[in-house]
Homo-oligomer: 346 residues x 2
DNA sequence: TTGAAAGCGCTAACAC
DNA sequence: GTGTTAGCGCTTTCAA
């Protein structure tokens, strides 16, 4: 590890001068000749600042805390973390991720993170829902990811759920489907409500009437399969908008048993939460990919802009190599999903 | 943040004394009366050491680096990270996780981690394979997770792949299956080789002859489905050992199309890589759960024991709340998977 | 325009 | 046994 001291020696100046230059606070304070000399020596020696040492003085560590409940164990989370890491590393930050189970360990972990001098927090949920951030996070820079603050005070980055439902349904209508079903989620959350509302609106905009019998909201379990089976036999839908790919699988299972082929006899559009699933089903499935990477990326960028109190308008999303190698058969149809960035309302 | 200084003031002693006591280096150096006084004041004030400040002196930060390629984007990884975090936090460490794509960014990220003074590294792979750890990691404490060092020099924690294959096949034999197929992976790796060898050995131990025609090694893609379809029609197996749950899905798809029911007409045992899958298929699928959490846990514990140069024999795996809530229908049969801990051979 | 000096919170020699 | 002192790498007055 090369230090400022070494640079100072080599350049024949003091450490303070080096500090000024390397922090770009030399304008009008250090002779530009000396400044550039210091800079070249630094580059030459491969100097990299020791963020921990500076933190002692400045109180800022360039470390972000990423807190999630179960989320880090979901495939869903991988992309978010990856995106957040990407923005962080692009802006010279590091991410410490922490998973909690329950409020008790949550506060423990937050305290631990704070001891490490975390500059701010990302608080992520598994699926967009109304959320109350722990009080121990009040007062620190904080951004919610895939979640909505109860009081609208905390900024967040989340998918446009209504539009997901609208676009998916629109797609099925355009594909010529006459009886479009919605296989949703029976838990109350923004993702569910928004998507179902979008489904309904798309139908109405197309001059169709919303029919409750075509909607089945289920959990991800055994009874779910039965519910979808009943929907199949009672209503004979020819199009399915599925809350996620796990639910799409029920449709596949039922179709296979009835000798129906997805993509020919029935059409299916599903939100692609788990990737593994959709990759296996994909030759026949139209997916809506939640932009997890982007969500994490913009959330981290927003957090950093909060911390540094400056806008990051010039930031650009990096080219990503796909996190999971693309399915090597037919590239499935994909519907783009847009993000919403909510500002604090106060 | 309460500092040692404050404690020292309140106790009427010097900071060094406080330091000695709070680091448990007071034995025979500080009067026990004073020591306990310092301790109570510390507890009272809720003192928590600032690991970053001490790192400046000691060179140790109590931060571990977790490096993975794609792994952090796989559901597979969630458990590992969770386990590693658990051991880390139990022993007073923090985990910084970093995902890389390709060697270039890998070295970048490693350098960044080193700047943060990481005490050691966990290097994780997506699936057990022979691995060459980056040279930039030489010289620092390092443990491989779900990977095997090329030269056997680096300690690792990995599943007992042979036994997975053996136990799975044994299970199918015990279930009365006559024609047991193996749906494996066509990539060369320890996981594949070990599991297929275990499959073969179990058959032979049961007095059966290994039949190549019952083995199909595929990727996770379109042609894979065809290969399984062919296997179905040519060999009519009544038992399937699947490399993972994604491959098990091909068997389900084929069975459904032929009117066969898993658990009645055919038996399937699969390694449960992706959880989402197996949870959906589970009422009928016997799964082998890779102990991801444990793998991460023991790997981190091993790393810390390397760093602190002490054995952690008294460490106990914590009770975990299941990372993903258990499937609420029939609890699927599960086969236990054991871990192997490899020491450095030199 | 530059450098000396102090100090962030903590540890570790070394005096006392 | 306990306090003094120096210093980890860096930032930040303040004096020159």
């Amino acid at each position: 590890m090369v230090t400022m001291k070494e640079i100072a020696n080599k350049a024949g100046v003091s450490v303070s001068t080096v500090s000024l230059v390397l922090n770009n606070r030399d304008e009008g304070r250090v002779k530009s000749e000396i400044a550039s000399n210091v800079r070249t020596i630094a580059k030459q020696l491969g100097y990299r600042a020791n963020p921990l040492a500076s933190s002692l003085r400045t109180g800022r560590t360039r470390i972000l805390g990423f807190i999630s409940e179960e989320v880090a164990t979901t495939l869903y989370a991988g992309g978010i973390i990856l995106g957040a890491q990407s923005a962080a590393s692009q802006l010279g930050y590091m991410l410490i991720t922490v998973s909690t189970d329950g409020k008790a360990s949550e506060n423990e972990e937050i305290a631990a993170l704070k001891r490490y001098g975390t500059d701010g927090f990302l608080y992520a949920k598994m699926s967009n829902r109304v959320t109350k951030a722990p009080k121990s996070l009040r007062g620190t820079p904080l951004v919610l990811v895939d979640a909505t603050d109860e009081e609208g005070l905390i900024p967040s980055v989340e998918p446009d759920e209504f539009r997901i439902g609208y676009d998916a349904t629109r797609r099925l209508i355009d594909a010529g489907c006459e009886r479009i079903a919605y296989v949703g989620c029976s838990e109350l959350m923004i993702a569910q409500e928004g998507r179902q509302a979008g489904y309904r609106k798309a139908l109405e905009d197309a001059g169709r009437t919303f029919d409750e019998r075509l909607v089945v909201n289920v959990l991800n379990n055994g009874p779910a399969l039965e519910a979808v089976r009943d929907l199949f036999d009672a209503e004979h839908p020819d199009g399915f908008f599925c809350f996620n790919d796990a639910r799409a699988w029920y449709v596949y299972e039922c179709a296979a048993r009835r000798g129906l082929t997805v993509g020919r006899d029935i059409s299916v559009v599903g939100v692609d939460n788990h990737r593994v699933f959709a990759e296996t089903l994909s030759p026949m499935l139209t997916t809506i990919e939640l932009p997890h990477f982007e969500m994490g990326y913009w959330a981290a960028a927003k957090l950093i802009s909060l911390i540094e109190d400056r806008s990051l308008h010039d930031l650009e999303l990096p080219e990503t190599t796909a996190a999971i190698p693309p399915f090597d058969a037919v590239e499935p149809a994909k519907i783009h999903c847009t993000l919403i960035e909510k500002e604090s309302v106060r």
